[in-house]
């Protein structure tokens, strides 16, 4: 995951090169397209969803896809299409919050560790290594076990688990840049540490961070759905995709649409993030 991108800062027109290469990658564009679609769906959920995702209609439960209910109804007579549409909001929210937590906390740790070095660096990185010694899903489950099941706790858990990756990435960038001439120049001119960090160091980490975040969103959504599937994340009646799969477990033969569509939604979403992330990374890679 670590890409040395410091060269971009020194190559004139480096950024536009990056964007040009990205645009040429068709798969990445497809991913971007799917994502845009999901974002629009999430934003326009109240307009797009034909029904209230929470209203039950028990006498019409488990109806197959029809004109009224294009994705059928679930175990409680709720419209699956509406639930999938609203579910996109929840999934995106979880993903964004979790990645933000990891990004902010991780970057801060990485910055501090990389810039100040010495004992602080060692201690911080040891802690990061410790977190990485755990399989990530396991750690997330452990955190949720302690805090209690729920959407917020799941977000916190997934975010926490991802912190080390961002910390390492930022630290790596910082270490490379720290020795650059313009930093020394800036310091000679009397610029304070904070200024240097904000204006010189951070912007150079930006592109790898974007790549990492995009791929991280894929993992976050997947993990959140997994936790909800286990009953540890989103609680009923929230229309979260993983929770919907959990509820549909027994209906696998009798009403497969309850499982298919939410599962497909997760899959496409994650796929899109992966495509985009891959494309971003390839566009950054100096070797190809």
């Amino acid at each position: 995951m670590q890409t040395d991108v410091s060269y971009l800062a020194s190559v004139p027109g480096g950024s536009s090169l990056f964007w040009r290469r990205l645009k040429r990658n068709r798969l990445a564009l497809v991913g971007g397209g799917i994502l845009t679609f999901f974002l629009l769906t999430a934003a326009g959920a109240p307009l797009l969803a034909p029904a209230d995702p929470l209203v039950q209609d028990l006498y019409h439960r488990l109806s197959p896809p029809s004109y009224e209910h294009p994705f059928g109804t679930d175990d409680f007579g709720r419209d699956v299409l509406s639930r999938v549409i609203y579910g996109s909001r929840i999934s995106l929210r979880i993903g964004v919050v979790a990645v933000l937590i990891a990004l902010v906390v991780g970057s801060s740790i990485g910055l501090v560790a990389g810039y100040w070095g010495g004992k602080i660096d060692q201690v911080l990185m040891r802690i990061m290594d410790l977190l990485l010694a755990f399989p990530s899903i396991l750690l997330a489950i452990g955190i949720v076990a302690v805090l209690g099941p729920g959407l917020e706790n799941a977000m916190l858990a997934i975010g926490t688990v991802a912190v080390p990756q961002y910390a390492r990435l930022v630290r790596g960038s910082v270490l490379t840049i720290r020795e650059q001439e313009y930093v020394a120049a800036a310091r000679a001119l009397g610029a304070g540490d904070v200024r240097i960090v904000l204006y010189a160091v951070l912007p150079n980490c930006l592109t790898p961070l974007i790549v990492q975040s995009t791929l991280g969103l894929a993992t976050a959504i997947l993990d959140a759905a997994g936790l909800s599937f286990l009953g540890l994340g989103a609680q009923p009646p929230l229309p979260e995709w993983g929770a919907m799969l959990n509820g549909g477990r027994e209906l696998v033969l009798s009403a497969p649409w309850v499982l298919t569509f939410p599962g497909l939604a997760i899959f496409l979403n994650v796929l899109a993030f992966n495509l985009l992330g891959d494309g971003l990374r390839d566009a950054l890679d100096p070797r190809s």
Binding site: R126, L130, A145, L147, L230, L245, L253, L271
Partner: protein, 338 residues
């Protein structure tokens, strides 16, 4: 080489200690009083106090930690609240089930992943490459629980090819020796049981191993592509070596190191993903037990389970690191110079 092994082994202890410390701290992150959470508001002050004493919560933190480590060294992980059994006993009973599943899944992931990756790299740009990479991209994006359920639908219910859950058919009798049923059935010379065990391992193994297979395939491809560009490969071609010799004896061996990183990381994924897979397939392993413990708010049990899995992961990484040294002479020399 020996110095490297020693150095690496020594690194093990602070890591393990760190894991123990983190797991130990878990119970202190519980909002509120853990004893109260476990027993509820109606619990009398006496029972609360008794549990607190049993958990050692009334002592200062460092003494609690010392006691925790002391107990651990003796193999005492406490008792499960719901079953009243020793946690170490329960984990030991279930550990072989999880390990057997994980190893089978890893085997599948390795075979499929390496094969697909090598094929893609050597047939770069062809339809095969494109298919392979699309499949692995799909694999990496696949929610494991969806995959498991779909497997059950298609393979078990529609096609009736594989059993839906469990490690054994109810009719099969196996003497409980190691707990690794594949091994046990062979030791008992019971081929029918062996087949039965294998049959039950297929779906969960495939489910668990798909994502790692995809990740390994991708890494193998990119690593192989790197290596295939190298000069010594061109020399090998020029010398007229067969494709098999070039690819396997030279390229793959040198491409293997980054792949090894991915493999050992994927082991972590397998251990974590086992929780979901075991739940779907009613597999009596540590993962499913852990989930039940979480639902029961049995913190001691959760601690024990997390500790076991994390330790396993650390040990696997250790083995991977040692394999590194064996594969890459440079690491050996670096370590010896240090």
């Amino acid at each position: 080489m020996r110095a490297f092994i020693l150095k690496r082994l020594l690194l093990l202890f602070p890591t393990l200690l760190g894991i123990v410390a983190l797991v130990f701290l878990m119970i202190h992150l519980v909002p509120g009083d853990p004893a109260q959470v476990m027993l509820g508001e109606r619990a009398s002050a006496k029972t609360l106090e008794a549990l607190r004493q049993q958990l050692g919560l009334d002592q200062p933190l460092h003494i609690q930690f010392a006691k925790y480590v002391g107990d651990l060294v003796q193999g005492d992980l406490g008792r499960s609240i719901k079953s009243r059994e020793k946690i170490s006993r329960e984990l030991l009973d279930r550990f072989p089930a999880t390990m057997e599943l994980t190893l089978v899944a890893m085997l599948f992931a390795l075979v499929l992943g390496l094969a697909a990756g090598v094929l893609s790299a050597t047939r770069r740009g062809t339809l095969l490459d494109y298919l392979g990479m699309t499949a692995s991209l799909a694999g990496v994006s696949m929610p494991i629980f969806w995959l498991g359920l779909m497997m059950i639908v298609v393979m078990s219910m529609v096609l009736g090819l594989f059993p839906v859950s469990g490690r054994l058919s109810a009719h099969t009798v196996l003497p409980h020796a190691s707990g690794f049923y594949l091994l046990d059935s062979l030791l008992a010379f019971d081929l029918r049981a062996f087949a039965d065990v294998l049959w039950h391992l297929v779906l969960p193994g495939l489910t668990l191993g798909t994502v790692p297979a995809a990740v390994i395939a991708r890494m193998t491809r990119s690593s192989m592509l790197e290596v295939l560009k190298e000069d010594y490969i061109r020399t090998a071609w020029a010398k007229g070596l067969s494709e098999r010799a070039v690819v396997f004896r030279h390229a793959l061996k040198n491409a293997f190191i980054p792949i090894l990183t991915v493999i050992s990381l994927q082991f972590g994924y397998l251990l974590g993903g086992a929780v979901i897979t075991e739940t779907i397939f009613a597999w009596p392993g540590v993962g499913r037990w852990l989930l039940l413990a979480v639902n029961a708010r049995d913190f001691r049990a959760v601690q024990g389970g997390v500790l076991l899995v994390a330790t396993t992961f650390v040990l696997v990484n250790l083995v991977a690191d040692l394999l590194y040294a064996w594969l890459d002479p440079r690491i050996k020399y670096e370590a010896e110079e240090a």
